[in-house]
Every structure is written in structure tokens, then in C-alpha cells.
């Protein structure tokens, strides 16, 4: 029997129960749309987050307090106090493969200016952070060595914070900002850095780390940025940093991460997250499949007489099986196709509105194929039992069915 005929029979039958067909298809549409949207958004999140981190520079190393152990709590209490300003100086002095070191003392705190009061991130650091992190100025200057030595109350603002704090953000040099009850001079305005992990890197201000230690009565660093001379010397910078800190601390109460390590673990986390979300979405596709099975069983019962007639005039079991299977597959494929469109629209909307990047065609093509194949498989898997039941009907009994 030719396939075209089977398809036209299926189309006829599906058209005869339009509402039922639409509702059943809807189950598949939702399932496929959910899978596509989540996989695609997950990919966008991964590429955009990983991409954002990558822009921080491949030569960057993070020195974090506390030892990351398998199955242990990262950054335990005693570990939080393990890094000091002097550690940073020692690494800067002794490590050959390192071009810059910046200790970071960072805290989230309320700052005020001219009656405005906002909570932001205050970063105490050294002037060379500008080089280490690749910061550039929009106006004014960055922190200087004399700011550091004299523990000056000088502050450099990110553009977002400037906008939140001042009515005229372009013209803020020489203004005052109050941190922890002390007045700071605004000496510079940074160029925008954008976001990482949805975190606004421009919503922060930089002050000399010496001033920060005094201000907060703290003498340890939250973490230390180490910049290798170039990408090739990253492994050497890693070994040197670890050796120097181990010598100074006597124990490994710190963790040094390279950017690639960070990216790898970040990527792994996001991958697992995407997978988990997609699995949940896949469940709805299975539910859609059960909907198909249900409706096909009803259809087989309703059309028992038709099956009897077809058998009487010579349909074999395979003919009947194919007929009902194709019907199920048509439902699931149409649902798959429409779900794909809905899913792509959803993922495009979410990606552009949340991450400012449309999902690339190259990354969605395999998902689309997967969803399409999956929905066809759903049709076959959930259609085969009803179709088999139809094929097994005895012609005499089927003909007698009212």
C-alpha cells in the first residue's frame, strides 16, 4: 500500500475530529516548545556567561581564600582570613611569570551623596588593578600610588553607580561620596565594563586598599587577582603563585584558579542546569505522548467497524497497523513542527530580552533536529500499541461492532 494513501487516510481521520486532534497536538506542541526553548536558552546562557568571563582576559588568575577540596565546603571561616595584602606583594615581587597582582578587599555597603543613598560594591584595591583587569577611564584618573601610600580618601566610580548616585553623571569629578561616614573625593569615572552573570560590573566604586583596611578595620584580602605575563605563561604563574603562598602560609589554605579552570567549572554547572531543566521539559513531551496514546485508543474503539470493513475487503494487519501508526505520527510531527516554531520564538524572545543575544542558527539546528526526531519517536512509541490493538481485531467481531 502506498504511503501517500496512508497519509491521506490519516489526514481524513484527523480532520473528522478536529477539536480532538488540535487538543492532542497541543500536548506535543507544549512539550516540544518547552524542550527547544529551554535547551536553546540554556545554550545562550552558557555562551553568553562563558563569553563574558572570557572577556575578563585569559591571563587572569584568581587566588581565593580556603582550600577547595572534593566534597568540602569552599571558603570555610578560617580560610576567609588567610589572604593578606603582604601575600599580594610577595607574589608581585617573587613570581617571574606575573605582570601584575591586585589584592581585593570587597564589600557591599551603603554609600550616599547629595541626599541619594544606594547600596553598592566597594572595592579596595591597588592602582595596578586598572592594568590587571583592563579598566579604562571615561573621565579623571584612576587610583595612584600616592593614594595608596597616603591612604587617601579617593574614589573611582563605575558608570552605573555614577548614574544612580548623581543627577549629572558625566560631570562628577571633585564631588563627594560618603562611605561608612567618611567623605571620599571622586577622582575618576570608569568606562563601562558590562555585566558578568547578570552582575553589573559598573555598579561599584574603587578605593585604595589601604584606605579600605582602615575604613573597615580589616587587614586581609577578599581575594587576589594575579595577571600572568601572557597566555602561555599562565601555568607557570599558577605554579609560582602557589609555591610563594605555600611558603608564606606553611599550609595550603588558599586556592588558585586559572580562567580556563573557572570557565570549565562554570560551563559544567550551566550544562548540568540546562540538562536538568530540559529533562523536566521532556517529561511534558512524554505526557503529550500519553495524550496521543489515549486519543488513538479512543479512535481505534470508535472506528472498530471501519477496521472490520477494511479487513473484510482485504486489509492485512500491517495495513491497519500502518494506518493508525501514521495517524499518531502525523499528530506528533505536526505538534513537533508547531512546537518547534513556538519554542524557537520563545527562546529568541528570552535570549534577546535577557542576554541581548539572539540564539545562533548553528546552535539551534541540532536542537531542532533532535526535537523533531524526538516528537516523531513519541508518535511511534505511543502510537504503536493502539495501532497494534487495531491490527489484532477479528474481522467478524469488528464488523458486528455498533
Amino acid at each position: 500500500m502506498d504511503l501517500f494513501e496512508s497519509f491521506s487516510i490519516a489526514r481524513e481521520a484527523l480532520r473528522a475530529n478536529r477539536l480532538r486532534t488540535i487538543l492532542t497536538t497541543l500536548g506535543v506542541i507544549i512539550g516540544v516548545a518547552a524542550v527547544i526553548a529551554l535547551v536553546s536558552v540554556g545554550q545562550t546562557v552558557r555562551t553568553s556567561v562563558v563569553g563574558e568571563f572570557a572577556t575578563l582576559g585569559p591571563e587572569l588568575l584568581w587566588v581565593l581564600p580556603g582550600k577547595a577540596r572534593e566534597g568540602s565546603q569552599f571558603a570555610r571561616e578560617e580560610g576567609r582570613l588567610s589572604l593578606t595584602f603582604e601575600d599580594a606583594e610577595a607574589v608581585a615581587k617573587d613570581a617571574d611569570a606575573v605582570s601584575g597582582v591586585s589584592p581585593i578587599l570587597q564589600t557591599s555597603i551603603e554609600v550616599t551623596s547629595a541626599g541619594r543613598r544606594v547600596t553598592t560594591t566597594v572595592v579596595g584595591t591597588t592602582p595596578n588593578i586598572a592594568d590587571v583587569r583592563g579598566l579604562s577611564m571615561q573621565a579623571g584618573r584612576f587610583l595612584s600610588a600616592s593614594d595608596l601610600v597616603r591612604r587617601k580618601r579617593a574614589a573611582v566610580l563605575g558608570p552605573s553607580l555614577a548614574r544612580r548616585l548623581y543627577r549629572t553623571p558625566a560631570n562628577i569629578l571633585g564631588r563627594r561620596v560618603i562611605i561608612n561616614g567618611r567623605a571620599f573625593d571622586v577622582v575618576g569615572l570608569l568606562r563601562s565594563e558590562g555585566q558578568v552573570l547578570g552582575l553589573d560590573l559598573d555598579d561599584r566604586l574603587y578605593i585604595p586598599v589601604t584606605t579600605a583596611q582602615q575604613l573597615f578595620r580589616i587587614d586581609y584580602a577578599s581575594f587576589i587577582f594575579v595577571k600572568a605575563k601572557d597566555t602561555a605563561s599562565v601555568p607557570r604563574a599558577l605554579r609560582e603563585t602557589e609555591r610563594i603562598l605555600l611558603r608564606r602560609h606553611g599550609e595550603e589554605d588558599f586556592t588558585v584558579l586559572t580562567q580556563s579552570q573557572l570557565l570549565t567549572s562554570l560551563d559544567a554547572i550551566l550544562r548540568i542546569l540546562t540538562l536538568a531543566l530540559t529533562s523536566i521539559a521532556a517529561i511534558s513531551l512524554v505526557v503529550g505522548g500519553i495524550g496521543i496514546m489515549n486519543i488513538m485508543l479512543v479512535s481505534v474503539t470508535e472506528r472498530t467497524r471501519e477496521i472490520g470493513i477494511r479487513k473484510a475487503i482485504g486489509a492485512r494487519r500491517l495495513h491497519i497497523l500502518t494506518q493508525f501508526l501514521i495517524e499518531a505520527v502525523v499528530i506528533s510531527l505536526v505538534g513537533g513542527l508547531m512546537g518547534m516554531l513556538v519554542g524557537l520564538a520563545l527562546s529568541w524572545g528570552i535570549s534577546t530580552s535577557l542576554f541581548n543575544s539572539a540564539p545562533s542558527l548553528g546552535s539551534t539546528a541540532p536542537i531542532v533536529l533532535l526535537a523533531f526526531g524526538f516528537s516523531a519517536a513519541v508518535g511511534v512509541v505511543f502510537g504503536v500499541y493502539p495501532a497494534w490493538r487495531a491490527a489484532q481485531l477479528h474481522p467478524v467481531e469488528a464488523l458486528r461492532y455498533e
Binding site: D2, I309, K311, I313, G314, A315, H394
Partner: protein, 245 residues
């Protein structure tokens, strides 16, 4: 000559729960090529069961069934389906057309299962509809046709694969007398063109259109009579027209 169909000591026992219900208790019957046989009997006599056996819709519990000289009582479901498709034409009391398909599509259906090409199907279906005088109604779906027209579509469908035998189960049972006579007229014309026909009926008047009447009672063949002068449906149609102009 080899009979078209021949049953020997055929029995059919249905199991209802734990009780065996014999529907046929040993029937021997042969229908020769070109014969027009009516099968009569009261309800419960086994007419339908006999028809199902003759039509290869069911297998005898015991005994043999020769179709065109070949024993088909042990064939598989699919082999029986193929036999029904190519060698047997069915006409049912309730027409059994597929309501969603046009008359033409209904007639094409047996050829779909026979693997006939699309163009050939169309040609043969149209020819078959023409043969029963319904070429002009080919695109209509069964619900748009009268009972008599539907039965003619069913006959066209039964003929389209040029079967060796036409099995009609109360073909006029759902029709008014005039439409019934028309159907009988077509059946008699087919028979005149050498088609072998077996027709189940409970109506003596209808049965007398055939050449031979087989009487069943309680699952047994009780009488096998020849009809010396079968009624001619064409003539009766003319008479009907005279009585009620």
C-alpha cells in the same frame, strides 16, 4: 469443473464463557462457477456463520474449506486477507461503506490494499461505478446517497478486483422494495455475465431470484432445492412501475 467454493463437514463452535455454542454442525456445500445460490434459514440457523466461513472472514472449527480447489482452512490471517481482497466480493446488508470517503474512494479501497497503481485504481473504480449506473455520483460521500445508491457503490467495490465469487448478506434488507429489486436486477445481470453469487436472505421472495436455494436450520443444511424459473428483477421493476405509476 472445480467448484468455486466447497465446504466439507464444516463445523463452527463459538465459546461463550465456558459454554460451547455450535453454530454449524457439519455442513457440506459446493457452489459451481456461474451459479447463483441463495442461503435461507431462520435467525440462529447459522446463515451468517456460513457466510463468514465462505467469505474467509473466519475459519471452520473442523472440516475443510476448499476455495477454488485449495484448502484454505489453515491459512494465516494475512493470507486470508489477501484471498478476500483478490477473490471475494462482499455486499452487506448495512452497505458498510466508509462514510467520510467519496463513492469513488470507497470503490478504490480494495485496490489500494491490492497494490494497484493510482491511475489504474481511478480507471477501474470509475468503470465499476459506471457498471452499476453511478458514474455521475462518484464524488458523493455515502451519507449523500440513497440506500439503493449506497448498495450499488458497495457492489462496485465488491467487483473492482474481479473476484471469483460475490457474497451478498441480505443485500436488500435495508432497502425499500423498488431499490431492492434494482439491486437484485444488478446481481442477476452480473450472474448472467458468469459471476458466481451466494446470497443470504430470510425472504423466500428474494431467494427465488436465484437458481438454487439452500435451507439451513440449527446449523445443518436441511434442504437444497433448485428454482425452476427464477424471478426476473427487471420484469418485476416494470410490473412495479405499472402498478404504481
Amino acid at each position: 469443473m472445480t467448484p468455486v467454493v466447497a465446504l466439507r463437514e464444516a463445523t463452527k463452535i463459538y465459546r461463550l464463557g465456558k459454554v460451547d455454542v455450535p453454530a454449524l454442525r457439519g455442513v457440506g456445500l459446493a457452489i459451481e462457477p456461474g451459479e447463483f445460490v441463495a442461503i435461507m434459514g431462520p435467525s440462529g440457523s447459522g446463515k451468517s456463520t456460513l457466510m463468514n466461513l465462505l467469505g474467509c472472514l473466519d475459519r471452520p472449527t473442523s472440516g475443510t474449506y476448499l476455495f477454488g480447489g485449495h484448502d484454505v482452512s489453515q491459512l494465516s490471517d494475512d493470507e486470508l486477507a489477501e484471498l478476500r481482497n483478490r477473490r471475494i466480493g462482499f455486499v452487506f446488508q448495512t452497505f458498510n461503506l466508509l462514510p467520510r470517503l467519496s463513492a469513488l474512494k470507497n470503490v478504490e479501497m480494495p485496490m489500494v490494499y491490492a497494490g494497484v497503481s493510482r491511475a489504474e485504481r481511478l480507471r477501474r473504480a470509475q468503470a465499476a461505478l459506471e457498471r452499476v449506473g453511478l458514474a455521475h455520483r462518484a464524488s458523493h460521500a455515502p451519507p449523500e446517497l440513497s440506500g439503493g445508491e449506497q448498495q450499488r457503490v458497495a457492489i462496485a467495490r465488491a467487483l473492482v478486483n474481479t473476484p471469483s465469487i460475490l457474497l451478498a448478506d441480505e443485500p436488500t434488507g435495508n432497502l425499500d422494495s423498488r431499490s431492492g429489486e434494482e439491486i437484485l436486477a444488478i446481481v442477476q445481470e452480473l450472474n448472467a455475465q458468469d459471476m458466481t453469487i451466494a446470497m443470504v436472505t430470510h425472504d423466500r421472495d428474494i431467494a427465488e431470484h436465484s437458481q438454487r436455494i439452500i435451507h439451513l436450520r440449527d446449523g445443518r443444511l436441511v434442504r437444497d432445492e433448485m428454482v425452476p424459473r427464477p424471478k426476473q428483477a427487471r420484469q418485476e421493476l416494470i410490473d412495479l412501475a405499472v402498478v404504481s405509476p
